[in-house]
Symmetry: C2
């Protein structure tokens, strides 16, 4: 097990009963709140009206900035930073999924920073302080509600980049599984895929032994694999949504990578896809991850075989572990198809014409590798895009 | 899944490399530190000398209070409170296992309280503030290094009582698995038993469905069951100690009871044993828990059968789930025997002469029941003691 430091300070309010406490909870962090959200779904569902009422009821002044898109954009972050400065905002309350939360984190880090907030995403600077962030989660997927990470897309050059910093942990997150029951099935599938990839990026590691966290990750994957088909078949099932939503948070709150180094190449390779073609992150991951697995399999057949047996219930075969390992990848693809994902680029109309460009962007012109389990250079990434065709 | 609020603020420093940072870390919480510990083992191992050197090196003033016993006593807590007040202590640093940490928590809560600190343990008052607590853990067992709980024994009347409060979470805990490698095997067995019971107390619940946390608990139990025989066979194995130590912390940091209500009757029933006979908590649990299981089994045979299959690898038998359930209890007893525990009262020389007295104390004279899975009155508790003979 690798040495580590672990702390996750986010306070989680889980269940049906906490939304009406949002005013009281928010009031612990100040008097002036920016409510940050995406489109009209939170308005239509009654969630935004409820939040306005509760914030006002707690005597808080609130301002609003909607319009966050999937793959949240830097231009809106800039607007948010200005808005916060003009209105002396104390707390940013993100309402929605990972996009709203990641955008809120970027704004929160940008407000006290004198330079360009994009510096944090290029690695030119590291966020050391940020406005407090709270979230009201509506989509189990990104795990951003209890993570220190944020991913933002810069329109110019279509650059999608991530930052991680302790000051970006939300102070609190309100998770009501009922809010997920109206999600379109494609969004459910994308969320499920993202959660599973957060787990698998952590699972494929060179750190060893890591038996405990292996088992925790397997437990979380099995929960997602069990609950996802149930919420798709029965979208109003609170109990199944609760399992999925909590698993989605734990998948990405850093507990499951204690003592181990994750890979994260699939995320980086996917970010180029979703930046260039503006597809959903989860849809991209369902295509990239199996291809990455086929490329990385020989690096540690035993790990892929263990994954196949423990996560997917594949039969042991110690005489031919590679066969077991490949069975695991096949079952993953079959599962993702079963929840409605495409698992090949050709199925979503993407050809090989920009593979070289994406592979070079992913490695900043081959100036560095991506991934830790198997460090990949641009030629490896091109090969993975080809395996995904 | 039940609604819940979850936050665990303790910052964990895990591995070989963090002990020498104790001065830097402690200095974040003040300038005057009380080092609180048990006997001479931390002195002999070189840990206390190292901590003194690092605290002094960081320019901190430190005071010392040793002498914490297993089943830590209220009288020492009173002395600690006085010592902290006299010396204007900013931070209590517990060095050792659960006893030192629980004692430190009691002192920390007592310092700012104008009444008798025992009030917190009888429920007459609830701790609302406490001095900051840090820990340097040497024994994987109690989980107190990342929990809000403390258990103290009042000598007068031999009352052993617990309190839980958010202000009792340690601010930081330094976990170096190397420190556990010199533990006597009996102490290892008691620690393993305590960890397993923290997991099983959470596992046996009436909340449902709780699939995700079921799986997380099973994963943690399997880790403990795999690593315990290895550390006993090979006490200097860092890797195995690391798995066991981290599992021991997660077992009791409240994550694994999110959305579910644990039972905790076995703990309460054991507390009477260790208070009266001054046996180790783990030794008492190894005797009480199987008896409790036999008594509670019929309340939810399916849950005991799932436990047997998933935790112990018992074979499924849907035609006779009670047989599967009993197999799980038998395997637990066999496992505890294999790590050196006794699993019957008669084996440690305790007879039935004080069962009635203990059962009445446990329920404060039958004024309340104990346990949530099956609420137990004094006659039930007496029956459980009898099953344990």
């Amino acid at each position: 097990m690798d040495d580590f430091v672990f702390q996750n300070p986010t306070r989680i309010y889980f269940g049906k009963s906490h939304e009406t406490e949002v005013g009281r909870i928010a009031s612990q962090y100040g008097r002036r709140v920016l409510v940050h959200f995406g489109g009209q779904s939170a308005e239509r569902s009654g969630l935004l009206p409820l939040i306005r009422k509760e914030l006002a009821g707690a005597g808080l002044a609130y301002f609003e900035l909607g319009g966050v898109q999937p793959n949240p954009r830097l231009s809106l972050v800039y607007r948010g930073i200005e808005l916060c400065r003009e209105n002396k905002i104390d707390l940013i309350l993100a309402v929605g999924g990972g996009s709203a939360i990641d955008s809120a984190k970027a704004i929160a880090a940008g407000v006290p920073y004198s330079g360009d907030v994009w510096d944090f995403y290029t690695g030119r600077a590291a966020p050391e302080k940020a406005l407090p962030i709270g979230t009201v989660l509506t989509i189990p997927a990104a795990g951003s509600e209890s993570s220190p990470g944020s991913v933002i897309t810069k329109e110019e050059g279509l650059l999608k980049r991530a930052v991680n910093a302790d000051c970006l942990f939300p102070r609190f997150s309100i998770l009501n599984p009922e809010r997920a029951t109206t999600l379109p099935s494609a969004q459910v599938a994308n969320g499920v895929t993202d959660i599973m990839c957060h787990l698998m990026e952590r699972y494929f590691t060179n750190s060893r032994p890591v038996e405990f966290t292996d088992r925790l990750i397997e437990a979380t994957l099995r929960t997602v694999i069990a609950s996802a088909p149930r919420v798709l078949a029965n979208p109003t099932s609170y109990d199944d949504w609760a399992e999925l939503m909590w698993a989605g948070t734990i998948a990405h709150n850093n507990l499951l990578n204690t003592g181990r180094e994750g890979d994260w190449a699939s995320h980086d390779i996917e970010h180029e896809l979703s930046a260039l073609y503006d597809i959903a992150h989860g849809a991209g991951l369902a295509i990239v991850t199996p291809a990455w697995m086929k490329y990385a399999l020989k690096h540690d057949v035993a790990r892929f075989a263990q994954y196949a047996v423990r996560v997917w219930g594949a039969e042991d075969n110690y005489f031919d572990p590679e066969r077991v390992a490949r069975e695991g990848i096949a079952r993953l693809e079959a599962f993702w198809r079963s929840v409605g994902q495409k698992v090949r680029l050709s199925e979503i109309g993407i050809d090989d014409s920009r593979f070289t460009e994406m592979a070079r962007k992913c490695t900043d012109g081959d100036t560095h590798s991506v991934g830790h389990f198997v460090p990949l250079h641009s030629k490896d990434i091109e090969a993975i895009y080809r395996l995904a065709l």
